[in-house]
Assembly symmetry: C2
DNA sequence: GGACGGCTACTCGGATATCGCTTGTCCGAGTAAATGCGG
DNA sequence: CCGCATTTACTCGGACAAGCGATATCCGAGTAGCCGTCC
């Protein structure tokens, strides 16, 4: 089980937008240069965030992306869902109904598969933990580890 | 983020082994026929379970696989880890140290990345939920939904 | 009749192809700003 | 000097390839049971 690396790019990009503030939008190229990422592919992730209502995009010169909401109102689950999709990791294929289960009446399978139910519990716990953490929380945690990050971002953004 | 379907096969196969009991081993072909799965590929998953110490394999005629421990002592996390590997879903690539972070002293990155830390919390919650559920629990849940499953398995196994 | 050696058939185990999705890239539509011109 | 039409350059947005891991398969090593033969 593996999460796409686009998630890491998306979260860090949102953090940069949070650090720089919503004064003016930041373009894909600028965000890509911030972490030395391929601009076109990062643009793909940013579009996904835009479609999910996490970012707002403004075209034209001086255009780019902005956070659509305050960092406190954007959870990590929002970002992960926007990039990876809404489906849960475990997809029950209902193999219990094949082979040995082919002959038994369908009524026996009204209750959902016990394996899927167990996996879903874990998935819910995972999602709940992600939903409880907002971008502001992560930003605060990063600021505690490196206090001058916001200033660094603003300087780098102005000079780049 | 997507979990391989081999996990579903592995869990259901372990459940079958639990229902049939450890009297005699069950071969890959028999297990595959139970759910109409490709035998060779299922064998791959069973080998992974065997290498992780969840199953024991006996070669030769009348050979096959058995549960290495009691179902109460096999957690879903054990099975998932055996199939999907021990790595966590989110792999931090440390992109914070590239681009804007290339010039700052390395000491700033002694603390782990805040994004990775947040993701790890969710991963821990997910693993904990999986670890708390044993094969016996899942089997019990399935038995409640379809009480005669164990009997069905024994009959189908004898007649097949 | 019993025991032993060889044979057979069946099993696991790992090496080997194929497919789909993630990754990566490109070009076109649209727009805001700058520019030059006319009043 | 001011306002406007035109041009321009820059942005997003979606369509188009490539690489890699999951999926699927096959064949060889090893072993337990069976059979024929010998004592």
């Amino acid at each position: 089980m593996r999460m796409g690396e686009g998630v890491e790019w998306a979260v860090h990009s949102c953090l940069v937008l949070a650090w720089l503030g919503d004064a003016e939008p930041v373009s894909t190229g600028r965000l890509a240069a911030t972490f030395e990422l391929p601009p076109a592919y990062l643009n793909k992730q940013l579009q996904a965030l835009s479609k999910s209502g996490i970012l707002t995009s403004t075209p034209g010169p001086r255009g780019g992306f902005r956070l659509a909401r305050a960092p406190e109102d954007i959870s990590l689950l929002d970002v992960v869902t926007a990039i990876e999709g809404p489906d849960e990791a475990f997809r029950c294929q209902e193999i219990r109904q094949r082979g040995v289960g082919a002959g038994v009446p369908k009524r026996q399978f009204r209750e959902q598969c016990a394996v899927a139910a167990a996996m879903r519990q874990a998935d819910v716990a995972w999602r709940r933990t992600l939903a409880q953490q907002s971008l502001a929380d992560v930003k605060l945690s990063a600021d505690r580890a490196a206090p001058h990050t916001a200033e660094l971002m603003r300087e780098w953004h102005a000079g780049g």
